[in-house]
């Protein structure tokens, strides 16, 4: 393995916080050959980002490298003088950052930002270039990342570009000095699936054309299949297995990898679960809802003429990308927001003092008050229902049992719980109010894929036990395929497609639905083949352009 571009050998890293030391990486070894694409995958806390940070040299102060070696082109970087190591940045390797918004200083023009980076790198390497020369080089790089009008991009502020365009600029930034290794930390995670798909295509193309090696850090197995030749699976600081991408995804050798793959909701094929369509009576009916925000000049119509019926006992899914108006529709249907025009009819009136609907929010980190214990959070709806003393205590214990959490957790604060546990508490709180409908606002988007599966299974069981109706809002179509009995797809404030879930996925009518489904990263070639076909013209017509 002498020809490896990057070689990590027996890397051990530990973190010391509040006087206690924990080992977060144990004997991590892998290599990336020149021109090879390697994906480092793992869930939260697996140590994948720590590994990347150790390579780049940006570990937090709390971290200590306790052993091992990292070699770039055969040179050991860990014991290099800081100046020498600094000189590797941008030339030997380069980083594509995760968050396209926070990676730019909002008060500088994109052109200024890129020029600074180029100037600093030039100075480090003793290159002298005029401003005009640098500008030409920058324009060339922006063209490489398929930004059609580099001049306009350079004269824009970060806030004036879309998320997809910013991500392209970030990739361009990493390409400025033709690095041999590109390290990408969860690129496109914050973007919509369709944009993410384009970004992955771009990275793939660049890596191939420039002959760069790629180290991709991700939790998304679908992305892995798309951009990696070889996969390194990490779990709790250990490498679980390493191997060819198709072999790992198709026939994993380790139980952990298998569990990870099984937790990914399938889009097509025999593993898909279909929720039966229930022909219950309508609970909520929305007629021609329109919502306009802002006044006169800055007026913006978020939702246009949307009519929907929610039936008793069904799992209805409203799909759409960010800004499509799906959350606004859900809020109007539940009476949390009044429509500008149109009306909402409730066919079922809740018992006195009982709300019809409760919400389970996307991020359990922000939907639970950090200063209140689980018991205190649960007591709010119980108090509102007039439950006191022992009755309240018993009900709390029932609720904990319902969401499969130990009763002892009642005394814990949110920061003592994991993401999945927090989301269970949030579900318990929603159930405490005894609603008829549960609004699920991307309930698993902030969770790891294996945790996501357990939460979804819990929600399905709860629906059986309590006879609830679910209204789910999500951008994750593969999740909705398995969870919803009926779905509607929203595009720019309008519903473009609606129907029983299997029908919509088997034969999507609207080009946008097709483009959306086609962009979902899947983990098997079979699924890839079963995706609907989209023409470039259809794609251009329905998707937001990220190149101009």
């Amino acid at each position: 393995m002498t020809d490896a571009l990057l070689q990590v050998e027996g890397l051990n890293v530990s973190f010391t916080t509040y006087g206690r030391t924990r080992q977060v990486l144990r004997d991590v070894s892998f290599s990336v050959a020149a021109g090879e694409r390697v994906a480092l995958i793992g869930e939260t806390g697996s140590g994948k980002s720590v590994t990347a940070k150790a390579i780049i040299g940006t570990l937090p102060n709390a971290a200590t490298i306790t052993g091992g070696a990292i070699r770039l082109e055969g040179r050991e970087v860990l014991h290099m003088p800081p100046g020498e190591r600094e000189a590797l940045k941008g030339t030997a390797f380069s980083l594509i950052m995760q968050d396209p918004l926070s990676s730019f200083n909002p008060v500088f023009l994109i052109g200024t930002h890129l020029d600074d980076v180029m100037r600093f790198a030039d100075r480090r390497r003793g290159v002298r270039a005029s401003r005009a020369e640098r500008r030409d080089r920058i324009a060339a790089v922006l063209r490489r990342v398929q930004l059609a009008d580099p001049e306009r991009v350079m004269n824009s502020y970060p806030s004036e570009l879309s998320g997809g365009m910013r991500q392209r600029v970030l990739i361009g930034l990493a390409l400025l000095h033709q690095p041999k290794l590109l390290i990408a930390d969860e690129p496109g995670t914050a973007l919509d699936v369709t944009t993410q798909d384009e970004i992955m295509n771009l990275i793939n193309q660049l890596v191939r054309e420039e002959g760069m090696a790629l180290l991709m850090i991700t939790h998304n197995l679908g992305v892995v299949r798309k951009v990696a030749d070889r996969v390194v699976v990490m779990h709790h600081g250990d490498i679980v297995e390493t191997g060819d991408c198709h072999r790992i995804l198709g026939a994993p050798a380790q139980d952990y990898t298998r569990a990870l793959i099984d937790a990914v909701p399938p889009l097509y094929g025999p593993r898909v679960t279909t929720q039966a369509l229930t022909e219950g009576a309508p609970i909520v009916e929305a007629g021609a809802l329109t919502k306009t925000f802002g006044r006169r000049r800055s007026e913006f119509t978020a939702v246009r003429e949307v009519s929907l019926t929610l039936r008793k006992g069904e799992i209805f899914g409203l799909a759409g990308e960010s800004g499509s108006g799906k959350t606004t529709v859900a809020r109007m249907m539940m009476g949390l927001l009044s429509p500008t025009t149109g009306q909402v009819t409730f066919h079922e009136t809740p018992a006195k003092g009982r709300p019809l609907a409760q919400i389970v929010y996307q991020n359990p980190g922000t939907s639970l008050n950090p200063k209140r214990t689980v018991a205190q959070s649960l007591s709010v709806p119980l108090k509102a229902l007039g439950k006191k003393g022992a009755v309240r205590q018993v009900r709390m214990q029932e609720l904990m049992a319902l969401v499969r959490l130990p009763v002892s957790y009642l005394g814990k604060y949110p920061h003592e719980l994991s993401g999945g546990q927090k989301q269970r508490v949030a579900i318990a709180r929603a159930l405490a109010a005894e609603p008829k409908i549960l609004i699920l606002d991307e309930p698993t988007a902030a969770l790891d894929v294996s945790v996501q599966k357990t939460v979804i299974d819990l929600l399905l069981q709860l629906r059986e036990e309590l006879g609830l109706t679910y209204f789910m809002i999500s951008h994750d179509l593969s999740l909705m395929r398995n969870f919803c009995s009926r779905i509607a797809v929203m595009l720019r404030g309008e519903i473009v497609e609606e129907g029983a879930t299997p029908d919509v996925f088997a034969a999507p009518e609207h080009p946008y639905t097709r483009a959306l489904i086609a962009a979902i990263p899947v983990i098997s070639d079979d699924e890839e083949r079963m995706k609907p076909a989209v023409t470039d013209e259809e794609r251009a017509r329905t998707l937001v352009a990220t190149t101009v």
Binding site: N363, E416, A426
Partner: protein, 294 residues
């Protein structure tokens, strides 16, 4: 959130919040020293009658034979122009300063906090009225306002307190308003409202606990300012009436006899410095300690 941050969080999960706070606090020598200073200052004020070498000198004692004694064992910082022990009077002066802090912050912190919470949560005209009033009050220089009030009324401890309080609540109102407004936008506030919680519950049970760290840091740092402001008022002759010993008026009285009888200025001056320094160090320490949750 990055994976590294998650890992740090995961290790935090195994520890109690109290332990993490204690850990941060105990590793800040300045904070520990601040605590010791504040505690000792409080002890000195509370036990002044017992530890002062000449507790009688606090009243209207005149002993011209002992005037302007140089520092000696019986009078560590000497005596003033009517022969009273400077150290004893300074100890009682700290009592006045701390009482002033207690009075001013005891009223302005709760008032400012409630107004800030209400303005931040309810918004609309309530917000406009409260923030408007706050801004108008903030536009007036505190010392000028305090001077005006104590000029109109008698110069007593209560009136000095009143004069400072009149302006002080605005700082807390503005600070808590900002916190309350951002907390009010959190999902958990909407969730509480959805599950049937009333406004009182939301204000005091959901939002207020999230303001506690900010309030305690601000209050501690404020204590130092209030002591300085009170001393300034007394120095200018608008504070506590003689013969009640006050650090500010003691400095003012001793000033005429500088530099010959330096102890008369140095002792009360040092007392002001000691207490303000203590509160400032403690405030900084608290800020680091509470950083855990933010």
């Amino acid at each position: 959130m990055s994976d590294a941050k998650m890992l740090l969080d995961a290790s935090d999960r195994e520890m109690s919040a109290a332990y993490m706070m204690w850990y941060r606090y105990s590793r800040k020598p300045a904070a520990v020293i601040g605590t010791l200073i504040v505690l000792s200052a409080i002890a000195m004020a509370v036990f002044a009658p017992w530890i002062a070498p000449h507790p009688k000198d606090v009243g209207t004692v005149v002993n011209f034979r002992a005037r302007h004694h140089a520092p000696e064992l019986a009078h560590l910082f000497g005596t003033d122009q009517v022969g009273r022990d400077i150290l004893s009077r300074a100890l009682f002066g700290m009592r006045v300063s701390l009482l002033l802090v207690l009075g001013v912050l005891g009223i302005s912190v709760p008032v400012g906090t409630v107004l800030g919470l209400v303005a931040g949560y309810f918004g609309g005209w309530v917000e406009r009225v409260i923030t408007g009033l706050t801004n108008v009050m903030l536009a007036m220089p505190p010392l000028v306002l305090a001077l005006a009030v104590s000029n109109l009324l008698e110069p007593t401890l209560t009136n000095a307190m009143l004069a400072i309080t009149l302006q002080w609540w605005t700082w807390h109102a503005r600070l808590i308003y900002a916190v309350s407004k951002s907390v009010a936008a959190e999902d958990y506030i909407e969730a509480a409202r959805l599950s049937g919680a009333g406004p009182l519950h939301i204000l005091f049970r959901e939002i207020l606990p999230n303001c506690v760290s900010v309030i305690s840091v601000k209050t501690t740092l404020d204590a130092a300012f209030v002591i300085l402001l009170g001393a300034t008022l007394s120095f200018l002759g608008f504070g506590v009436k003689p013969p009640t010993p006050d650090l500010g008026s003691m400095v003012a009285a001793g000033r005429q006899f500088m530099p010959d009888y330096w102890g008369e200025v140095l002792c009360p001056g040092a007392a002001v410095l000691y207490v303000t320094l203590g509160f400032n160090l403690l405030g900084d320490g608290l800020r680091d300690m509470f950083d855990v949750e933010s």
